[in-house]
């Protein structure tokens, strides 16, 4: 039996109450909405939280829709709601695609926009029961001191496994946070830090309140995910592509290619964007961009799937995502 450790449950009705509870209980409290990421980790004794602050009943976190030509998605909107929202599907189809590719329908109904952005980094040596982890004398991300994937690594290289985060970066999104000192907004690009332990810029006391995707007029985006089982798993590779051009035969004016499930952060590959900008989206530019993504990617052995295969699938997935944009207009 994997039981939850003892905790006290709180269901605040406002962001201010939620933040106040977090400030009061400090590191012994955790924000939770769907619980599909946090609760398994609590059962595995990775996270020990004496207080769960459930933010899923806060009205202001529950609305989603068009906003200044883009989108504003409240943190407690479920992934299923976001994926089926008409404005989301029209304004940023890649976000809807990514949300729809998270886990299973039941998990998407529980899991939220904010939860997927804050998803704890994952690793074969970390997402295991306490006994399993004890058997290898733990790892630096929880209870131990060294990295089990690369024993000489000075830092944790657990992998960012969010499907929606690469899309947030690709679309130039902003993440809104609220803490005891008030509100602030951070670009998705600077929200993720690239360290498997300190993986996001959200401070301990801050609550992620919304994802804001800017005006997408003239933009196209797509997300391609590779995973072991099409019905449930976390990505072993994710690729989000975004670009802007005047028409389907006009040159690409601006582009972004972002890799998920490769590094501890969703990682933009500028060289892949450069291979597209100023050129028509055709077989040649797509091949060059896919090659650039392949060269930039350095997956480590911390998810399902052989390393060489995952690396090759970065090239394949980048190509597929860009081809989808090519055929969309």
């Amino acid at each position: 039996m994997l039981r939850l450790p003892d905790f006290q449950y709180h269901a605040p009705r406002t962001v201010e109450e939620a933040v106040a509870l977090k400030v009061k209980h400090g590191a012994n409290a955790a924000f939770v909405a769907g619980g599909t990421d946090l609760l398994p980790n609590m059962k595995r004794r990775i996270r020990k939280c004496g207080h769960l602050v459930d933010v899923s009943h806060i009205d202001e976190l529950r609305s989603a829709g068009a906003f200044e030509g883009g989108l504003r998605l409240g943190a407690a909107v479920s992934l299923e709601e976001a994926a089926s929202n008409e404005a989301v599907r029209t304004v940023c189809p890649a976000y809807a695609e990514a949300a729809l590719l998270v886990a299973t329908p039941t998990i998407r109904r529980m899991g939220t926009v904010g939860g997927n952005l804050c998803l704890d980094t994952r690793c074969l040596f970390y997402n295991q029961s306490y006994e399993w982890r004890k058997g290898i004398d733990f790892c630096m991300k929880a209870d131990g001191t060294i990295c089990r994937v690369a024993e000489s690594s000075p830092k944790c290289i657990a992998v960012s496994s969010s499907d929606t985060a690469p899309v947030a970066l690709a679309a130039g999104a902003t993440i809104e946070l609220c803490g005891p000192g008030g509100k602030r907004a951070v670009s998705a690009d600077s929200f993720y830090l690239g360290d498997g332990i300190d993986y996001m810029a959200k401070k301990e006391d801050e609550l992620l309140t919304a994802l804001v995707i800017p005006d997408q007029t003239g933009a196209q985006s797509a997300y391609v995910k590779v995973r072991a089982r099409g019905s449930i798993d976390f990505p072993v590779i994710g690729v989000a592509v975004w670009m802007r051009r005047r028409s389907s035969d006009a040159p690409v004016e601006d582009a972004r290619v972002v890799l998920g499930a490769v590094f501890p952060d969703p990682r933009e590959v500028p060289a892949a964007a450069e291979a597209l900008i100023g050129r028509a989206l055709d077989a040649e530019s797509i091949r060059d961009a896919a090659d650039a993504a392949f060269r930039a990617a350095k997956p480590v052995d911390n998810t399902d799937g052989a390393l060489s295969w995952r690396k090759e699938m970065i090239r394949v997935s980048t190509k597929r995502a860009l081809e989808r944009l090519g055929s969309a207009r």
């Binding site: 039996m1 994997l2 039981r3 939850l4 450790p5 003892d6 905790f7 006290q8 449950y9 269901a11 769907g34 619980g35 599909t36 609760l39 398994p40 059962k43 595995r44 769960l52 459930d54 009943h57 886990a103 299973t104 329908p105 039941t106 998990i107 109904r109 529980m110 019905s231 449930i232």
Partner: protein, 168 residues
């Protein structure tokens, strides 16, 4: 609304909610999941205890009209909620058409995934009376079955849907 009262010392809460249409008020350990309360405190063992980590779907129940994984829902979050489990599907001795067709089609072998399958299917049919095979596959994507290979399950759901529409 969803506040908690502490009784008889630390670690317990009084939980009042509705299970299969019946109001329940019970003192439970506050760290328990909905799954643990259903099985251990209410004796409703029809909801199965599978992976405990949200990966298998065996513990699927309907919470306020939507399927959830009971192993990942803190019981404390269920104050005032309406919960439906497999025990609520039959009316007296009359099985729900889904249960009937699952039995008829051999859609259960070991039976461990069956209650979760039934509830996921019931939820699907409430919003979609005539789902395609593909819609059924998608709706049940989070419910793993290691015995049947799924075919009989899909067929049973299609037959139950037809019966519920009055098509047969």
């Amino acid at each position: 609304m969803r506040s908690e009262r502490t009784i008889d010392g630390p670690g317990k809460i009084v939980l009042s909610f509705t299970v299969n249409g019946t109001g329940v008020e019970i003192a439970v350990a506050r760290h328990k999941t909905l799954l643990e309360v259903l099985r251990e405190d209410l004796g409703l063992t029809g909801t199965k205890h599978g992976c405990e980590l949200g990966e298998c779907g065996a513990c699927t129940v309907i919470l306020d009209g939507a399927p959830v994984l009971a192993c990942l829902v803190p019981a404390a979050a269920c104050t005032g909620a309406r919960v439906e489990t497999v025990e609520g599907m039959a009316v007296g001795p009359a099985l729900h058409p889904l249960q009937d067709e699952f039995a008829e089609a051999g859609a259960a072998q070991c039976g461990y995934c069956t209650s979760g399958m039934l509830l996921a299917a019931k939820n699907l049919l409430e919003s979609n009376r005539d789902p395609t095979r593909d819609e059924i596959r998608r709706a049940l994507a989070g419910n793993l079955c290691r015995c049947t290979g799924y075919l009989q399950i899909y067929e049973a759901i299609e037959r139950a849907a037809a019966r519920m529409r009055g098509a047969t």
